[in-house]
């Protein structure tokens, strides 16, 4: 059986209820321990959807009834996830002074920032790698530093200078098993190129402490913007943890600040799609004003064309690569980008460029 890729994935109500635990949601957790087969499916889904922290929270709160055996299983998957988290945070703590010494302006993104800034207990948010936003002029130096530590890039830079000017960034796998994703911008393809990361780096940061060291994440509206970009433009369909982040980050005062933020970076359709899909999946009790706004957003033809390169049956890295030409300002930038694409295609015709 196959499923059209633009349809929401079929998820069990129990998985959705775990993902929504802690939000005012219309999903309900069972009051009696579920049968072993249902529990096994839940644990598999929790690991796949990176919900180990949410499962542990539901169990710790007594909201999800479990047998002793199920309690032990929930504890084991959570412990394993948190071991990865601490490995990432250890990498962050040791990397931070080097980033500062390189003169980089940088922010911690996604998992680590959301865990510390948006959850009462950071153990509620599992994540698998360390994501950093680095200013374009320093990104090559930061990647070179990670390679000096024995790291390996998942994708090579197509030509010198590409990372700093056009690339989303680079994923670097380090010998200790940790992965550092160095971002120049928040997404691949045209939406990532259209966004000016200087806007994010120029905004006042939100600081948090990891291992006794103060580090900076993005401020709340930009953190929510990134959660939306990740949920709507990243892995498709989005993990439930990514959709939970979107709802977790909604401002409790009902503020519409994000609308102004997206207007400045061409991300209106992206944010609207992420908000609607997260709300449809996790079913909050009351519609947040931002979700109400999102349901009324009508994407332009160009936004639809760009979105279709990330999602649905026409999802394609090659289309995203070509559509970057529409997003770049000016002929010189387009020519330079086209030359880089052509160079990359000559060197690796089997592997599309990842702008």
């Amino acid at each position: 059986m196959t499923r059209p890729v633009d349809q929401p994935p079929a998820r069990e109500p129990l998985t959705l209820a775990v993902a929504a635990h802690g939000l005012p949601s219309r999903h309900n957790l069972p009051t009696e321990p579920v049968e072993p087969a249902a529990w096994s499916r839940l644990v598999r889904a929790v690991v796949e959807e990176r919900l180990e922290g949410h499962l542990a929270r539901a169990v710790a709160d007594g909201a999800l009834a479990v047998s002793d055996e199920q309690h032990a299983a929930a504890a084991a998957v959570h412990r394993s996830a948190m071991a990865t988290v601490l490995l990432c945070e250890s990498r962050l703590v040791t990397l931070a002074p080097a980033l500062d010494a390189l003169g980089a302006t940088w922010r911690v993104l996604k998992g680590s920032a959301v865990a510390h800034l948006d959850h009462a207990d950071p153990a509620d948010r599992a994540y698998g790698d360390l994501d950093l936003l680095v200013d374009g002029p320093r990104i090559s130096a930061v990647i070179a530093h990670l390679l000096d530590l024995g790291g390996r890039r998942a994708f090579n830079e197509p030509r010198p200078g590409f990372d700093e000017r056009f690339g989303k960034g680079a994923a670097v796998h380090l010998p200790d098993g940790s992965e550092v994703d160095v971002h120049r911008t928040l997404a691949l393809g045209p939406f990532g190129v259209r966004l000016d990361p200087e806007l994010l780096l120029a905004a006042a940061p939100a600081s948090f402490v990891v291992g006794g060291r103060t580090v900076a994440g993005l401020d709340q509206p930009w953190r929510l913007l990134h959660a939306c970009y990740h949920a709507a433009l990243g892995r498709h369909p989005a993990r439930l943890s990514a959709q939970r982040d979107v709802l977790q980050l909604l401002p409790s005062d009902g503020s519409l600040d994000l609308v102004d933020a997206v207007a400045s970076c061409g991300g209106r359709a992206v944010v609207a799609a992420a908000l609607v899909e997260a709300a449809d999946a996790l079913r909050p009790e009351r519609p947040h004003p931002l979700v109400t706004w999102a349901r009324h957003v009508e994407p332009t033809m160009r936004e639809r064309r760009w979105l279709s390169a990330y999602r649905g049956p026409r999802r394609s890295s090659r289309r995203r690569t070509v559509l970057v030409l529409e997003a770049l300002p000016g002929t010189a930038a387009r020519m330079s980008y086209a030359r880089a694409v052509a160079d990359s295609a000559r060197q690796r015709p089997d592997r599309p460029l990842r702008p």
Partner: protein, 97 residues
């Protein structure tokens, strides 16, 4: 001239330790020294007590009240655990008051 025995070193969590609460304890790691160590049961309680630095006798007394264990057995377990945590860089002995 005043004289007397040197004060017993106090035990404290090492600065910069990373930790996460678990369903059955706490997971701790001192950068850059993986792997993380899971403390459960009395180990987790010991870690909790060390939120405030204390000497070994105070630590044993606090845990004895929590677990109602025979003093000798508990003391031996605590000393062994402390040695392990110091070896992992998670706990330091300090004379700071």
């Amino acid at each position: 001239m005043a004289s007397g025995a040197a004060p017993a070193p106090r035990l404290a969590r090492a600065p910069g330790v990373l930790e996460r609460s678990l369903l059955d304890g706490v997971l701790v790691l001192t950068p850059p020294r993986p792997p993380a160590l899971a403390l459960t049961g009395s180990g987790a309680a010991l870690w909790d007590v060390l939120r405030t630095p204390c000497d070994e006798d105070e630590l044993i007394e606090d845990l004895r009240e929590r677990f109602d264990d025979p003093h000798d057995t508990l003391a031996a377990d605590v000393r062994a655990t402390v040695v392990e945590l110091v070896a992992h860089g998670l706990v330091v002995r300090t004379t700071d008051r």
